[in-house]
Symmetry: none
Subunit: 229 residues, 4 copies
């Protein structure tokens, strides 16, 4: 991620002619994903990756410009998909005049995220780790939340507030709470992949219900002293 360039350049010139990933590349990525998610990027050597992948060390550099290139090849598909998808959801929730309840909004948000997490635990572990460890990677992840997206999100929240569907708090705080709840689920899933108590469906319900109730407009408004703002 760090020093993002033309994205596919990280797969060297060697993507199968049809642009598809080769068998060797798949082996390397699988080995690297295993190791990175287990020990952290910095702790894994290229020798180790090559060994686990069953290829020579040089082969890594034939297929990916860099050790970092391998990391990017792991992170990109996620970062290029999860956020766009997520944002797309918001987009719909904004445009879709029918989804004008907090619940429909929240469920749309939570729904697919939970499934996604279940399917991509290992990659998410790597991304999570990098997010907290590398300023550049963090910027790359956050950079995908474009201003337009933020504007859309704010628009959606404002509309829900106007409709009396959402508590009247600062949008930034609401966003933080939503992301915390989702993020906490990701962390739990990613750090303890084996402990699988809940189905995706159940998790979705708990998270959604928690958010809906937590963000309902208050009958008796909370007194927050705003004078000090």
């Amino acid at each position: 991620m760090s020093e993002i360039e033309t994205i596919q350049a990280y797969y060297a010139a060697s993507l199968g002619k049809d642009g598809r990933i080769t068998r060797t590349q798949r082996q390397i990525l699988a080995a690297a994903l295993d190791l990175f998610s287990e020990k952290g990027y910095e702790e894994v050597g290229t020798r180790e990756i090559a060994e686990r992948a069953g290829v020579a060390e040089g082969t890594l550099f034939h297929n990916f410009v860099n050790k970092n290139g391998i990391l990017d090849a792991i992170m990109q598909p996620i970062v290029k998909n999860i956020l766009p998808t997520m944002l797309n959801t918001l987009d719909q929730a904004v445009l879709d005049k029918d989804s004008d309840t907090l619940e429909s909004f929240v469920v749309a948000l939570v729904q697919d995220r939970v499934d996604f997490v279940a399917r991509n635990q290992a990659s998410l572990a790597v991304i999570l780790s990098q997010f907290f460890n590398n300023a550049a990677d963090r910027a790359a992840v956050l950079g995908m939340v474009s201003p337009t997206i933020l504007a859309q999100a704010n628009q959606a929240m404002d509309r829900l507030k106007a409709a009396g569907e959402l508590v009247d708090w600062p949008n930034r705080m609401i966003l933080q709470l939503v992301f915390s709840t989702l993020g906490g689920y990701v962390v739990e899933k990613v750090l303890y992949p084996q402990v699988d108590r809940l189905t995706s469906q159940q998790a979705t319900r708990y998270l959604s219900d928690f958010l809906v109730n937590g963000l309902n407009p208050r009958r008796i408004p909370l007194h927050v002293d705003e004078t000090s703002f």
Copy 2:
């Protein structure tokens, strides 16, 4: 943290005679804290730390057994304080028969955490980073949540449920939601220390209120299919 031993052993034998930290050690720790929180432990070299601290490289090792010893000297005070304090709060909340509302419970939980985070952003950045990057450090942090503590927490939640103060969800899920909400606040504070929109008091109110509403018992119980458990 990794390989925790006699705690103070990480400060070499050279703590000031009165057991206090020396000026040199403070310089080193300050420099290291800056750099670690900025670039991540692995990215910082001992040469760099020494330079920023204004001491010779050897001085690092005269004062701390290891590069890792410096990291531990940064993390330990936090890990040895935040969790014990937090757990102490739970303890009281459990014993204090007066605090039998969800609100009193949640407020007790959120209250001091928020202040603490404000005062220790840099150290928390380092701990956060290590938590997601190093299995051993993660274990060290989590290891401090002893079974007794968990038992206490479960006891408190059960009591609140019995009193009709807490939604009837699995304790583990409730805990996850509480920690998510708190953790999200930590992350926000730690990653964007400069953006200070809310006072500690305001933050405490938002978080508490969100949790209280989110975890209130439902009038109409949520239907979660438990048959598949």
Copy 3:
């Protein structure tokens, strides 16, 4: 030697495919042997070895796990050969009923050792140095004199004594004298490799004759006060 493990592990995974030593490894070992025997193991740096071998410093560690691994690669062939061979000789001298004179016994002992020393002066210099400098290496060398071997040696000496061929002294003392005589020759050869006054054949004769006469049974027994034992 120190911390003996799987023997060939000290050559990294990189022995030529046919299990033979590579050219690079030979260069490194030659350079190291030169330097170690000249200045002693501790006094020689890896940089120095690499320079003399005409390779990069990293290449040392690509081919041998350790600096110590290089030392072991030098010592092992000797230690794994000289003692086994020597002991094998004893074995035969014990079993061979014809060699029932002190002379045949001694000659069998001295014979090949002298040639061996002439051919391996440099390596022996290193081993000698390590033997007196490193308790672990000393143990490794001595450890190869297994109890069975000792038993055999004692058996041989007892038989010779019974046959009136060997002076009736404690076996331990006899062994010490034999090893002293051989060892002294080694030391002389190893410390002054250039001064070559005697052929191997001549040296063998002197040493053998000295031992035979020195260890002949006495006509008039030596009075040693054994009461104080």
Copy 4:
């Protein structure tokens, strides 16, 4: 030893005013002797010596110019005494017209050496180790065998040969055998100080008798092919 300069310079200006060794110096030397003989000079750090001596690290350098100065302070008394004494013995044996038998010569040689070894095991262990590990120290030890001494020794051997008391072998070989026998005893004593089977008196007898018999003139002269000399 290495780089021998004014001998007493190694005890810094700080010998007690009366030229005697101070208490602190004795502590340091005792600690260093222990450690050097146990682990070898190179393996012992100044920090370690200071700790065991119960003084500060700086104190070492107040009392001895160098780490090497400590080593020399340990070796010198021995090297300055054992060899001179030994040589003195030779001197007497040469001049003393009464000692004209091989036995009296050999006994004079062996006699005190054995006692000396018993009393100075630790120091000898250090000297032995240095002798084989450090060319400079080896030179220092050997350098004390001055040409005059050698001349004297040769003279003594020649006289004994003429008197029909000593086998007619090259003097150099005879010397080697004598030193081997003595050296072997030293090594045995020094490497296994605890195993004390023989009294000094007994050892003296065995060694002397072995040498006398080994070096007796042969009735039937040994045939050594001298043509190749």
